[in-house]
Symmetry: C2
Subunit: 150 residues, 2 copies
DNA sequence: CACTCGAAGTTCCCTGAGGGAACCCCAATG
DNA sequence: CATTGGGGTTCCCTCAGGGAACTTCGAGTG
């Protein structure tokens, strides 16, 4: 947990960090995405402290990124992505693409992604939602928006 | 700083978190991207502790994401994005898009982005680098890659 | 019914990272 | 020679993360 509250800044990056910026949160999201969805399974897969896992799951549920689903008469739950959380996976895919490109080293990427539409091993690329052309760091100008800080 | 080392995991998401996953790092990157590049300017803009800012800048320089450039005879430096860091801005753009969509609230997004190619206010969308079709959470299958853990 | 089991937390203590503020270094300037 | 200002460093204090033991509660077993 960061001591300074990012969620109150007038910046969508800072606000997003307030939702998934804490240590472990992106990895929890990754596990839930690939189907590791129960408390003990998450704890074993990540090697995270149980206390922190509890805190992170509660926070992600509060933020509406994942949901608790009972899967038994007994109080047993599994966690699933909401629509909000599913869209956050975009972030994970970009992190994967960057990590594969810059950090994988000799051995190559640990995981490959096959794209359903074309059947090829591929990765994500960023395009403008409006015109479809590439959209990267140098391709935009920032302008003050309606929600600018007072 | 996370106690557990993410960089040693066989996962590009975890490795990427080892580079920019610490508190403040994405916001430092954002500031450098938009041209806030000197120590005191960063410290003032972010409200971060000077100690932590020093640590983060050193780490980002070590990771090859930013570079120190002297801008005076005196020991004065400014920080600039490297190619590796410039590609990391993709991550910030996706965070911005998600935050704008899910967290901006009534007021709307605090910052707008005009795309050079089409001149419109827009945001990023994820496409397959191979076929150009949309590529989101449900559109891929993960497969073990060459760098899978032993 | 008493006993055990297992998932899902909860509690406790210890260490170490973040916040804040004061301090330091050093080249240029007046 | 004293001052200024950028770019850190140092020190102390608090609070978050790690680790491991403990708790809860319903289900299954003898």
């Amino acid at each position: 947990m960061q001591r300074t509250k990012f969620g109150e800044m007038a910046c969508s990056i800072a606000r997003t960090l307030d939702v998934i910026g804490e240590p472990w949160s992106p990895l929890i999201l990754r596990d839930v995405w690939v189907g590791i969805s129960r408390f003990d399974d998450l704890q074993a897969d990540l090697g995270i402290s149980r206390k922190v896992l509890t805190e992170r799951l509660n926070h992600l549920v509060e933020q509406g990124v994942i949901e608790r689903h009972p899967y038994d008469q007994r109080p047993r739950y599994e966690y699933r992505l909401t629509a909000k959380g599913t869209e956050l996976v975009d972030l994970l895919m970009v992190m994967t693409a960057w990590g594969d490109r810059w950090l994988a080293g000799e051995a190559g990427p640990p995981v490959l992604h096959r794209h359903h539409a074309c059947g090829e091993i591929s990765h994500v690329d960023l395009r403008c939602a409006h015109c479809g052309e590439p959209m990267h760091a140098g391709d935009i100008d920032p302008l003050p928006g309606p929600g600018t800080a007072p």
